[in-house]
């Protein structure tokens, strides 16, 4: 039997997806069941007091499986990474939120040591509670202004922001043009890499940004490397593995914004690329941001579904520019000449 419905929402009201109520059950916090809720996160209500624990648990769930657990000498589970941590920072909402959460979850005792001294630590310096997960945490900012005419160099502003608000962290400013300069790599880059000794890189891609990147990338032919949008791994010449993890990938832009607002975080925002017109990326962003408001669960469905995807064939090496898996046969996509010429 053929359906007579055209499925056009502007013609048929029934064709429009029905909207769920904004929150389930009551306005009381779903976690403590005592306080009045202050934020709705995918139909679940949380109070301001329980919200930090929600975000912390999400970050830990993504990040901690990649930190080598220490051999257990006591009942309490503790973590000790084999390398150091590098956090990519753009000044945007996601990376500012990430830096703040990482500082609060893993680095709060560094400030305590700095302000009150090692002797004041409960249990002493050698107590497992006080041993840092990473010996060194570095914040890296890459200035891209040289690549776009009219863009402002914000290195100094970013450096000031990081040093004022995240004292416990080292800051390294880099410039995009350095990546293409072999002399820089010989003179500076190699030593930097070795000093940092980072085996884990974090960036502030939120669930919303991840979903936007996934759909946008697939729409432009990037389906073969869809897995790399969530997590990437590189092996150096010495076969050491560096992993890029996105600890905010289960946290929406809304949650990041509320965290930044309630904690008075200074968010500089990302600069728009001058002269860049609306493209697939911008259109996808409008679509996904709209989904997050009206049908919030669909945004996480995008990320979860894409996480299940895997290419049917193996990669043919890596792309020389982005170092992501190269799809076999991609070089056969040549531009056909116009028949009139």
């Amino acid at each position: 039997m053929v359906s007579e419905s055209c499925g056009n929402p502007s013609v048929e009201v029934e064709a429009t997806m029905s909207r769920r109520p904004k929150y389930d059950k009551s306005k009381i916090c779903i976690k403590c069941k005592v306080n009045n809720g202050a934020i709705v996160v995918r139909h679940a209500v949380y109070c301001k007091e329980c919200f930090p624990a929600l975000l912390s648990s999400k970050v830990k769930r993504i990040l901690e499986p990649h930190i080598n657990p220490k051999p257990e000498s006591s009942r309490k589970k503790s973590l000790k990474a084999s390398g150091n941590l590098l956090v990519g920072f753009s000044g945007g909402l996601g990376s500012t939120t990430l830096l703040d959460l990482i500082s609060r979850i893993y680095l709060s005792n560094r400030m305590e040591i700095k302000e009150e001294g090692v002797a004041k630590l409960r249990g002493g310096k050698g107590h497992p509670r006080n041993e840092p997960v990473w010996e060194k945490v570095t914040v890296c900012y890459v200035e891209i202004a040289a690549g776009f005419s009219g863009m402002t160099d914000r290195t100094e502003t970013i450096q000031q922001l990081v040093q004022e608000n995240f004292e416990a962290l080292d800051f390294i400013p880099l410039r995009i043009e350095n990546a293409f300069d072999p002399a820089w790599w010989d003179r500076v880059g190699g030593k930097l890499t070795s000093d940092m000794n980072a085996d884990l890189i974090n960036d502030g891609t939120s669930l919303t940004s991840l979903s936007i990147n996934l759909i946008s990338s697939i729409a432009q032919g990037g389906g073969f490397s869809v897995r790399e949008e969530a997590q990437e791994e590189w092996k150096s010449d010495s076969m050491e593995t560096v992993r890029l993890i996105r600890p905010l990938q289960e946290i929406t832009m809304k949650e990041c914004s509320m965290w930044a607002w309630w904690n008075n975080l200074r968010v500089l925002g990302k600069q728009r690329h001058p002269g860049v017109k609306q493209g697939i990326g911008a259109l996808t962003k409008d679509f996904i941001v709209g989904l997050e408001r009206d049908y919030p669960s669909t945004v996480s469905t995008i990320a979860r579904t894409c996480a299940k995807l895997a290419p049917r064939v193996g990669a043919l090496g890596s792309c020389i520019l982005c170092e992501r898996p190269l799809q076999p046969g991609v070089q056969e996509w040549i531009r056909l000449p116009c028949c009139n010429r």
Partner: protein, 118 residues
């Protein structure tokens, strides 16, 4: 005619649309036109269908009287553009009825743009 005093704050870059000022103090009439017409004077409401001033009306008022440019970046289809969070007295407006929340004297309404990037 009674009035309501409100504190309105903009964040996340949204203040750029409102004279680059983050905080504004407004006074609105307690009863407003049902169709959100912000051009009707409060004294000329007789014969006009009215409602208690709610957030939906506040949006129209902000768009028509405070917004300096690019109204499409603030409002879309009778509500805020997707990507703008609204807090009513530090609480997500989704818990307070969104546009239908009836404004009270000394309420603090915050509009935050989330479109900063990651």
């Amino acid at each position: 005619m009674t009035t309501i005093s409100l504190q309105v704050e903009f964040g996340g870059g949204l203040e750029l649309l409102f004279s680059n000022r983050k905080r504004h103090t407004l006074t609105l009439p307690s009863m407003v036109p049902f169709d959100n017409n912000t051009k009707v004077l409060p004294d000329a409401l007789s014969g006009v269908e009215t409602k208690p001033a709610d957030i939906e009306y506040l949006l129209y008022h902000l768009r028509d009287h405070l917004l300096q440019e690019r109204p499409e970046l603030f409002m879309e289809y009778k509500t805020v553009r997707p990507g703008i969070l609204v807090l009513v007295n530090n609480t997500d407006w989704e818990l307070e009825g969104e546009g239908e929340y009836v404004l009270q004297n000394n309420d603090e309404i915050v509009f935050i743009s989330t479109l900063h990037g990651g």
